[in-house]
Chain length 419, copies 2
């Protein structure tokens, strides 16, 4: 069985939007054992869309189309689909009701163009969109399936996860693969591969698949059994091995976020946290807050961007900044100590550094960042030597700080590693 | 003239790598007035590559192929190209010398597979790669051009920028397109389209292109002249019109971020800012910090996640929280007022709300969020009624708060709108 992804939109062709939808769909389909063999990116014109459909039906069994379903005039996919499948649009009452309640819930006026979004091809099965107003459509033709979805990533993802992945598995009777992902941070892809060379060789010799999936600050290791669930214990044993060998770096399994791991540990111990941030500007706290339940442990955060504020809010002695500089181990540690005492929490995470692209000096070039953690017993600090990409430096600092807290929590509580 | 991009590699199809090369090439070509009309992503097999070439030569004038030129065995593009253009590989001495000096400069051993990278099709013009070992290739056939480039982004970009963009312009004698993008926030795509209906009709009647490009909290409006620079004034007039009609929503042009617009305004006025955040957990401050230079105006941020901290750090009277609730206009305003006074800045932005997925009550369901802004003269507040997606609610709140500040700054200073 072959799958194909068609992405519609001039914004993708001229590079105003990066086609993250296609890669997300490709990886989700791979996870359920469906192989994407081709991809097309086409313009918002009838001619281009029809040609793409023809080509895809010629060579693929499952065709997933994204884009071109918005309410504005440049979105023509729905009309092209009607002609292509020789059907007509009809207002679907249940869809209309859902769109009405969508707008009512947000206290926003519903416009005529939104009503038209309830008009859908008679020949399709409607896929409900609970996160927006453009429905998905499932068409069948000679045993092949074409699915049309909106291009808004979270709406598309919602429909894929809630309905379509299961529906595709059922329709094509795909044999499930079994995957397990180990999440690591603070270690580069090639360094990790070098560390785990013998482990990797054994995995491959056992006939399992292994993929390294890097993103800034995080490397995912995905192990795959082509036989499915029956290999789960053997796969799990390989996962435990990497956790045991790299306890500082491996923080969890299966796409859990580092923020959630840290948050869950704190909720488990019933302890509280303060952050005192400089160069990350609140990024450590806001990363923690992405995981629901953060109000259970995050008491406060102080963003002390100026020297004055480091002193005023986090009780950093001015003479420490004077003597050692604002980007120094001593200042980072004083920030953590001060924040912990002022806010009265068990832990306080701090950071200070030159995120770039400007700033820095001979001794501390751009990318020099100190993180520190105050606990009831001690203050631990760590120096990061990063590059000159501001966005990346901030992200790496956030992960490094959270991981320092995670590892320290586990050690203090004698808890098991690896989430 | 039509261009097409072919991206070779299974890692793109199964989503292990996001296809940033295609969007980068698309945007670079758009800037020189070459329109990418199609994109293909294909597997590393001879059959798939040949089919992609056939299709592309059938419909496009310029074909840019990336990927499949590495030294490893699974990279077969070069051999397929030889067969396709009916030519043979031959070691090019000058290329071999360049590869030898590349390895010598890096003090790394040169392997036989690297020597083979100097073997190139006799029928092509070689495009020198000064950043790696795989050369680019320029083939011509019936007035059409196929360019093959390595998939390593910085090598590909180097060859495009140093040689190919100019060579393409010369060969095809292209006339440049002209684009202008207007950035809007706090208004949905369909509502914006409704508001600007007559404007849109006039734009299209004038023969210009218009596209709505939405992402959470932001809608980009892209206007295009197919004649190029000569229409810049007419396009600019259309941009000014949307700014004048929607001054609260339009915050800038050409992909500028809202954080940068707000930051630049504050740097311009020499004024300072504090944030007092609850449900966004530092997200407003960390969004501002994404733009370099934020240390020039962001004095401090307080993340007051608990009621106690709202009182302790931001001087919110406990009786205000008691009487009106922690998610209320009164509490949001007290947070902004208190933060402004405590930190001594001209402005303070605050927010408090139920980001979800849990929390909320009858009166204030999940998605109810209050934002407030304290200025030297007054405190302004605004209620947001969002959905139940935590990540999205946080993002929308961040943009709403920054936009409230932006608009207020412009009004206070009588500055022109729209960045």
């Amino acid at each position: 069985m072959k799958a194909e992804i068609i992405s519609i939109g001039d914004e993708l062709l001229i590079g105003q939007t990066i086609n993250t939808n296609a890669s997300w769909i490709g990886s989700e389909l791979a996870l359920i054992g469906v192989r994407v063999c081709s991809g097309q990116v086409v313009s918002d014109t009838r001619e281009a869309i029809v040609a793409a459909f023809d080509l895809a039906f010629d060579r693929s069994d499952l065709i997933i189309v994204t884009g071109g379903l918005g309410p504005t005039k440049d979105d023509i996919t729905k009309h092209v689909l009607c002609d292509y499948f020789n059907t007509t649009l009809k207002i679907k009452e249940d869809v209309l009701k859902r769109i009405e309640s969508y707008f009512a819930g947000r206290k926003r006026p519903m416009l005529d163009v939104n009503i038209q979004q309830a008009a859908l091809p008679e020949a399709c099965q409607v896929i409900d969109n609970f996160l927006g107003t453009a429905s998905g459509m499932w068409f069948e033709k000679d045993g092949k399936v074409l699915i049309s979805l909106p291009g808004v990533p979270y709406e598309m993802k919602g429909m894929m996860q809630n309905v379509l992945l299961d529906k595709i598995k059922d329709y094509f009777k795909v044999k499930a693969l079994y995957h397990k992902t180990v999440m690591a941070t603070g270690i580069g892809e090639s360094f990790l591969a070098e560390e785990m060379k013998d482990w990797e060789e054994r995995i491959l010799a056992d006939g399992f698949g292994l993929a390294y999936l890097p993103s800034p600050g995080i490397v995912k290791l995905r192990l795959t059994s082509y036989k499915g669930e029956e290999d789960s214990e053997r796969i799990q044993a390989y996962c435990e091995e990497v956790k045991t060998r790299l306890p500082y770096h491996v923080f969890g399994e299966d796409d859990i976020s580092l923020a959630k791991v840290v948050g869950d540990l704190l909720l488990q111990t019933g302890e509280t946290l303060t952050t005192v941030e400089s160069c990350t500007g609140g990024g450590i706290a806001s990363e923690l807050v992405t995981a629901p339940g953060s109000s259970g442990y995050l008491k406060a955060g102080l963003i002390t961007y100026t020297e004055e504020m480091k002193t005023k809010l986090a009780a950093v002695p001015p003479e420490v900044i004077e003597e050692f500089g604002v980007v120094s181990q001593e200042t980072a540690e004083a920030m953590a100590r001060g924040g912990r005492e002022r806010i009265e929490t068990e832990y306080c995470l701090s950071c200070t550094g030159f995120a770039g692209p400007d700033g820095g000096d001979e001794k501390n070039p751009v990318g020099t960042i100190w993180i520190a953690l105050a606990t009831p017993e001690q203050v631990i600090s760590k120096k990061l030597n990063l590059g000159d990409n501001r966005e990346r430096n901030i992200k790496m600092t956030i992960f490094a700080a959270l991981n320092l807290l995670r590892f320290t929590l586990l050690q203090r509580k004698n808890l098991s590693t690896g989430g």
